[in-house]
């Protein structure tokens, strides 16, 4: 049964610690933030990104959006608004690169990072010949030459060597300590099991979280978290790569799309038999993987497009958080089948395919309508609206909130932030329409001003013609009447409930049944 993300119960009121692992995992941060902005997130979200490739656009995009979300939330003053947009208090830490160990090593190759030369010098002084021989035996020369700042390139054994450093990281100890203090907090990791970083990190993270940290000379043992509080989204091969050169510029290996399925099949038993300690697993994939535009090893050139799978991974994280965890000693699996057809018959993924309750779908639809309304009136296409105070003069919901239209000029900075955030959301929705299969939730193929009010949502039609955004505001007026709160803190709640009322009463699905 789909979870209702609009009502996080008391048992799931703790922090959702979200560990985004590798390029694919980090790409799920964007939809997760947008869902939080839409009012579907938990009260607190802590994001930890793990990737050696810190220059990857996925990382910079996610980091930028986190900052944008935090700034927006701060300015719109949502600290006391439990049910509305930007309700989630999002915190994060800088991307953790497992290949950075705090020493002054400058080389980026695998050999440099594991002190391969030190092994040789120790051979003659301390009789450690076995160590260097073992290293050469396990890792061929091409792997030892790999520039690790470009990621682990589909070679999980390389990643595993470094990923165990997680246990020594201060932030990881802090996470475990915070988990023991907040019994309602849950942990959720997302990453691919067919590439390099995600495949290497996911099992390590699960075990480290549940097993805890053994005592050392400087500290006592730190207990782990119950496995039912630790979940993961495993991304199966949902994309392929176009043919490229056999070798990367540094002479190292490239990710081999032909091995993705094989890698995933080899990795799955680790999760099925519980060795990775996760209490719940959400396994996501597509039977017709989409080919990426470029086959870049890593770095700034690896700018893959968003994919609907990433949204489903974010939904999995919220589902897990809303449940307050799931599973036990043996992992439970959650399945959602999306039938998008095959080949030429392939159709888009749309509203009915989302594994969400009716109330959650309504919340999401209302959020997109509100964002579109905002981008038509308050900040047209994300730009300034010099006439806003005149346009809102005498408007009923403004009056009911005890505000004056000129208050909107006084709060221009907050509105600018919200406008910028909603534009980022709009662009993300537009990009998702171009994927294969397309995710068609919002008609974001054009600029917001070019999309008529009432025609925001894909697969929906209006009951009666909607001529302008002021028709939507009738429902905001009613929402404002039902509220006792005033001021800007109530504005977003009025916008939310009013937009949901509009969706409920004025939109019907394209097949003809009204929205319920």
């Amino acid at each position: 049964m789909p979870t209702d993300l609009t009502t996080y119960g008391p048992s799931s009121a703790g922090t959702l610690n979200f560990l985004a692992v590798g390029g694919s995992g980090i790409r799920t941060v964007v939809p997760l933030l947008h869902l939080c902005a839409a009012g579907l997130g938990p009260r607190k979200l802590h994001i930890v990104m793990v990737d050696p490739d810190v220059t990857n656009p996925a990382t910079s995009n996610a980091s930028g959006l986190i900052e944008q979300y935090q700034e927006t939330r701060k300015l719109v003053g949502q600290h006391e608004a439990p049910h509305t947009y930007f309700r989630t208090d999002v915190t994060s830490r800088p991307v953790w690169s497992p290949i950075v160990d705090g020493t002054d090593k400058v080389g980026k190759s695998f050999a440099d990072r594991v002190d391969r030369s030190l092994m040789d010098s120790l051979t003659s002084t301390a009789g450690t010949a076995d160590l260097s021989t073992l290293c050469d035996l396990l890792f061929a020369a091409k792997y030892q030459r790999m520039d690790l700042s470009m990621g682990f390139r589909g070679v999980p054994p390389i990643g595993t060597v470094f990923m165990n450093r997680l246990r020594e990281e201060t932030f990881f100890k802090d996470l475990l300590n915070a988990a023991s203090a907040d019994a309602n907090s849950v942990f959720f990791a997302a990453g691919s099991v067919f590439g390099g970083t995600g495949a290497a990190a996911l099992p390590v993270i699960g075990r480290a979280l549940v097993d805890g940290l053994p005592p050392t000379q400087s500290r006592a043992r730190i207990d782990g978290v119950q496995s039912q509080r630790v979940g993961a989204a495993l991304l199966l091969p949902f994309f392929t790569l176009p043919a490229g050169a056999d070798k990367a510029p540094d002479g190292g290996p490239r990710p081999q799309a032909a091995l993705f399925a094989q890698n995933a099949a080899a990795a799955i038993p680790t999760y099925v038999d519980g060795m990775s300690r996760y209490g719940a697993l959400y396994v996501l994939g597509d039977d017709e993987p989409r080919e990426q535009r470029v086959n870049a090893v890593g770095g700034k050139l690896q700018d893959n497009r968003p994919d609907y799978i990433e949204l489903f991974a974010a939904l999995a994280a919220l589902d897990f958080a809303c449940r307050g965890g799931a599973g036990g000693d043996r992992p439970v699996f959650f399945y959602t089948a999306v039938d998008s057809g095959k080949g030429a018959q392939r159709k888009s993924v749309s509203w009915p395919d989302l594994p969400l309750s009716d109330a959650s779908v309504l919340r999401l639809k209302g959020a997109f309508v509100a964002a579109h309304t905002f981008l038509r009136l308050f900040r047209p296409n994300g730009n300034a609206q010099p006439d806003l105070s005149r346009l809102l003069k005498g408007v009923t919901w403004v009056d009911r909130l005890g505000m004056r239209s000129r208050d909107f000029d006084a709060n221009a900075a907050a509105l600018d932030r919200v406008g910028n955030y909603f534009m980022a959301m709009w662009k993300w929705l537009a990009e998702l329409r171009t994927t294969q299969p397309p995710l068609e939730l919002v008609r974001a193929g054009a600029q917001p001003l070019e999309v008529r009010p009432g025609e925001t949502l894909d697969g929906m039609r209006t009951i009666g013609k909607v001529n302008d955004v002021f028709e939507i505001m009738r429902h905001w007026n009613e929402a404002a009447y039902s509220r006792t709160g005033t001021g800007q803190s109530s504005l977003w709640e009025v916008m939310r409930t009013g937009s949901e009322r509009f969706v409920h009463s004025r939109l019907a699905d394209a097949q003809g049944t009204t929205e319920e």
């Binding site: 005498g394 009923t396 302008d468 505001m473 009447y481």
Partner: protein, 177 residues
Amino acid sequence: MQNPLLHLWASAPENVPLRCPDPPPGVQNADLNGFFAADSVSAAYSAVGYLSLLIVVLAVVSCYQATRTSLGPPFVKRWWIFEVGSSIACGLAALLVLYFWPTQADAASCQQYLVAFRATLPFGLILSRAVAGFVWAMLAFLIVSLILTQVAGRVPWAGGFFHNRGCPWPRFNPFME
């Protein structure tokens, strides 16, 4: 009805002069100046007044209720269209009603006609009342709008009066777009 609230400066006049019809051939020339029957003139003006009131009330209700929008430039434009439209309608109504109303001459005010007969009011009088009706409707539309938005428009059940309660006050500018 003499109520200036309905007729402004053009209340129904008393002793409206009337040019008596020419006498039949062979009859000695008589006095051609008579008067309209005051009660028939008053009835015509009352009809105009009540009709204008009805027009304005219907226009206000239609303006606010027969739309799905809420306050914004489109509604302000709509309000002004209804304002001017109802004024024109009231002016025209005054013209037509007064012109076609069966006003009568006062009995015996024309020497050769001892009974009342049908007579049309002078056009200058009708035009004056039509202009007054136009101006009256402008004011009445504004006042009725104000009353209904500020009193009835406090609750959502009032429909358009609630959703557009900011027009005409404080939103009155027809030129803002």
